[in-house]
Amino acid sequence: MRRSLAVGSAAGCIVALGLVAVPAQAISPTTADLYVLHAVPATPVDVYVNGALTLDDFQPGDLAGPLDLAAGTYTVAITAADAADDSAPVIGPIDLPLAAGTSYTAVAHLGATGTPTATLFTNDLAKTAPGQGRLTVRHVAAAPAVDVLAGGSPVITNLANPAEAKLDLAAGTVSAAVAATGTTTPVIGPTDVAVQDGVNTILYAWGSLEAGTLAIASQTIGGLHSAPNAVPAGEAGLVADPDPAPFVWGAGAMLLLLAAAAALSVSRARSDRRELPARHGRSGR
């Protein structure tokens, strides 16, 4: 759970690094969740929401939130960290329409050719199948289109800034890398990524290819798990309850009846033979 390491005037509550997967059910039928990711390298910023300073001295690579906001449209402006107000933003102002019951991440990032911009992503909170997790990859780097490799093979191809792709896969550890599309030489990674049951692990490729600052940022949202759909824990019928209801007919039951009938006819044959004179040799069959 979250704990306050320090409450300074600048940064607000600091929480443990990335290990806490926030439950998906923090949102409600009237509110949206908004996370904000600072993915512009080397530039601390201030973030204003509807004209009010909301994030002060926000550091590159940090993730803020969730902000629990009533459904509606919010105007976001991002300024240099030492700006007096939001009159001269470096990004925005942009309008973010937020729907109730939905989780969003707003990302301040470099466009494909290096111009700072912002993109609003919707986080997929659909339940995962039992034993599966979700991997979401978002390209927010100043770089051309990329492929995402898992274990050396592309699982996502031709992903361009500022698009996303996602896939559900079996829980486990994946060795992930990012390469220029159509190639397999990593520009980021390979690095181990934990795919966890019921968790949407959102990976952001951010930074600048030219400046050599490409990196992966990770956000996790949990609480998406499903229970197994059955517990089949028996197969031999050795401890079955006696059946007071009409017999459960099935192929097995029919075989039992036939076997019973065969046993009956054999015993009749045996009793017939016993009535024959003993001089005919061995009794029985």
Binding site: G12, A217, G234
Partner: protein, 202 residues
């Protein structure tokens, strides 16, 4: 209009009124300290390994003469819970809580019988009464004691698996096997035996 912002602070409007426009962009006597915004949780984005759950390795229920090993299991491709083939090894659902978890159900299941191994120790689960003691030992050697609070036979058509495999709520132990009538045609029992136990305090 300020949005309702939930964070470490309850009343953002009182804590930072919207600042009035500065008289000039330059030449102020000295910087007016801006009111601090309400605290918003901030976290880093380094890739982190999966959270590890301390696994159970043994379960003992003296009243049912059960003392068997526990192995972690997941699901099969069909989405059903995987179970160890041996009847004398219980499977722990490894995607859910464990005995040391702060919340939710630790689920252990074992075959009541198998064609290969015959009748198993969990065939005696249905004999257990409320109040019986269960001890689950985890890999670190810690012994976790529980008291049985319910023991029921539930139709597989009706068993509330979302509640059984609940990862939230009070920490508890759930033991599952099969029972009831047996369908010769499908080779399956019609019911699950569902035993719930709560941790012994201290």
């Amino acid at each position: 209009m300020l949005a309702l912002i939930a964070g470490c602070s309850a009343n953002p409007a009182a804590e930072h009124p919207v600042p009035s426009a500065p008289a000039t962009a330059e030449g102020s006597v000295g910087p007016t300290p801006r009111p601090a915004p309400p605290a918003v949780p901030i976290q880093g984005t380094d890739l982190a390994p999966a959270a590890e759950v301390m696994p159970p390795v043994r379960i003992a229920i003296p009243d049912a003469r059960i003392d068997i090993a526990v192995a972690p299991v997941g699901v099969l491709d069909t989405g059903v819970m995987e179970l160890p083939a041996q009847v004398d090894v219980a499977g722990w659902y490894r995607f859910g809580p464990g005995p040391a978890s702060a919340a939710g159900a630790t689920v252990l299941a074992a075959h009541v019988d198998s064609l290969r191994y015959g009748r198993g120790p969990f065939s005696r689960l249905k004999e257990l009464g409320v109040g019986a003691t269960v001890t689950v030992t985890t890999a670190d050697g810690a012994a976790h004691a529980y008291t049985i609070t319910s023991n029921e036979r539930v139709s597989k058509q009706e068993i509330p698996l979302d509640a059984v495999f609940d990862q939230a709520g009070a920490p508890r132990l759930v033991l599952i096997t099969c029972g009831g009538q047996f369908d010769q045609g499908t080779g399956h029992y019609l019911d699950n035996i569902l035993v719930t136990a709560t941790p012994v305090a201290g």
